[in-house]
């Protein structure tokens, strides 16, 4: 179990925008890939890098971003899939011990993040964003210091969403915790959130992203008529309009998000304009002079 179940082979720079000391360095490593599957990991890492660099606003920040692959083999393929969560009960021997069913949650796929960071820090000391690709077709992933994702369709979206949290401090923009009809999530009665993409301030003149709201856009842009539930109304404005849309940060009312939809609200959606602005601002120091 653990480091005796595989080998760290080394690192490869798969997207080269310049010296590691000056660029934003994304590092992706592998779990559950046997030595004869490392060519597949190379393809999977490339697919992630291609997707990242085709995603706005990273597509405009290519000259700021390096991507590294850290090859780590495992004795067996896949990830632990405990039967207590309805899995197969498989327990492959893998280097980072990635497992589904963390905390009893079927899709919560987590590796040994401490071990991941140790390996990545040794291979690419200048890393900024760490990712773990797990060789399993079961849908799953997790956030935190290491964004973890499987090979199932759409799992890269999990990695991008988690990158929004881990690298850029973005908040969740969905307006429920476990589901829309839950109790205890009616109104956000708290202080102003520190995250840049949610706010309790509905004053057009002082709200966080005021400079991006057109005078012709109503503020608030949507209001939830029934705070006991999620707001069912469709968007009243064209996609991409920045305003104040009620419902975010796990609450149905009294907290606002910048656009009707965003990757921090729904996987597969683009990052909203405010999230994109935050990402650009954070990565500006990494652009070539």
């Amino acid at each position: 179990m653990g480091t005796s179940d595989g080998t760290v082979l080394g690192s490869t720079k798969i997207v080269d925008a310049g010296p590691e000391t000056k660029r934003w360095n994304v590092v992706i490593t592998s779990d559950g890939y046997r030595s004869n599957e490392m060519a597949q990991f190379a393809l999977d890492a490339k697919q992630f890098a291609d997707t990242l660099l085709a995603t706005a606003p990273f597509d405009l920040l290519r000259t700021a971003i390096n991507v590294f692959r850290v090859d780590v083999t495992s004795k067996d393929s896949g990830a632990d899939d405990p039967s207590k969560c309805g899995g197969t009960g498989a327990k492959p021997r893998t280097y980072f011990d990635a497992t589904f069913c963390t905390n009893g949650i079927r899709r919560l796929l987590v590796g040994n993040n401490s071990r991941v960071l140790k390996v990545i820090s040794k291979q690419v000391p200048q890393w900024h964003m760490a990712l773990l690709a797990v060789n399993s077709t079961i849908h799953g992933g997790s956030g935190g210091s290491v964004a973890t994702f499987s090979k199932s369709g759409g799992a890269i979206e999990i990695a991008l969403h988690e990158m929004g949290h881990s690298a850029f401090g973005l908040a969740d923009e969905y307006e429920y915790y476990a589901g829309c009809s839950e109790s205890g999530h009616d109104t956000h009665s708290g202080s102003e959130p520190s995250q840049p993409n949610i706010t309790t301030n509905k004053n057009r003149a002082t709200t966080k992203w005021r400079s991006l709201i057109l005078p012709s856009t109503a503020v608030p842009t949507t209001t939830n008529a029934n705070c006991a539930n999620c707001d069912p109304q469709p968007t009243p404005v064209p996609p991409g309009t920045i305003g104040l849309f009620e419902g975010a940060d796990y609450f149905h009312c009294r907290v606002y998000r910048p656009e009707f939809n965003c990757r921090m609200r729904n996987l597969g959606a683009p990052f909203c304009g405010v999230c994109q602005q935050v990402i650009v601002k954070k990565l500006t120091p990494f652009l070539p002079v």
């Binding site: 606003p57 401490s114 956030g143 202080s191 102003e192 996609p239 991409g240 994109q276």
Partner: protein
């Protein structure tokens, strides 16, 4: 008439969306002072076990740090962040974070709707990393977070904390 105005607003909105998404390559703008002064950074690794957080290591790395979050006007905000302070306790650099010590987790349905939700995940243990500029002026690093509600259905869940964050960890940097 109304229809014309609506259409005009629609066009304006689309223009705004384009502008706000800034589809031009970002210009090389002013870097943070810390980033231009020194290419060195401090990588601070913390471990957490439930609510308890401790510094595990401090490592100097030659690298640029991401631009700082606002260093003023956040005293009453809720959330989780790290600050680099000088000897006068002035904030030099601040990093807003998605609370890494939270006791719940994001759950991905895997269905065609790619639904996201959350589920309690008590007794979580792990590590997280904070990178701050390595500057002569840096004296200490602090971590601040909001406390979770103590009553009701949201009891104990850090992600649903509503009160302003307070400092819960401070340590002097090794020189």
């Amino acid at each position: 008439m109304a229809s014309t105005r609506k259409s005009s607003e629609k066009k304006k909105s689309r223009k705004t969306a384009k502008e706000s998404n800034s589809r031009k390559a970002p210009a090389k703008s002013k870097q943070t002072k810390a980033a231009t002064e020194s290419p060195k950074a401090l990588r601070l690794t913390f471990s957490f076990d439930g609510d308890k957080v401790k510094l595990v290591s401090q490592q100097t790395v030659e690298m640029v740090v991401p631009a700082s979050d606002p260093v003023k006007g956040f005293s009453k905000q809720k959330g989780f962040w790290a600050e680099l302070k000088n000897e006068q306790n002035k904030t030099l650099y601040r990093r807003v974070m998605h609370n890494p010590t939270r006791n719940d987790a994001e759950v991905f349905s895997g269905g065609p709707d790619q639904n996201i939700s959350r589920a309690p995940a008590p007794k979580r243990k792990g590590v997280f990393v904070v990178v701050v500029p390595d500057t002569e002026k840096g004296d200490a690093v602090t971590l601040s977070r909001s406390s979770p509600p103590t009553t009701g259905p949201k009891r104990g869940l850090l992600s649903l904390a509503t009160k302003p964050a307070t400092e819960f960890l401070r340590f002097k940097l090794k020189k």
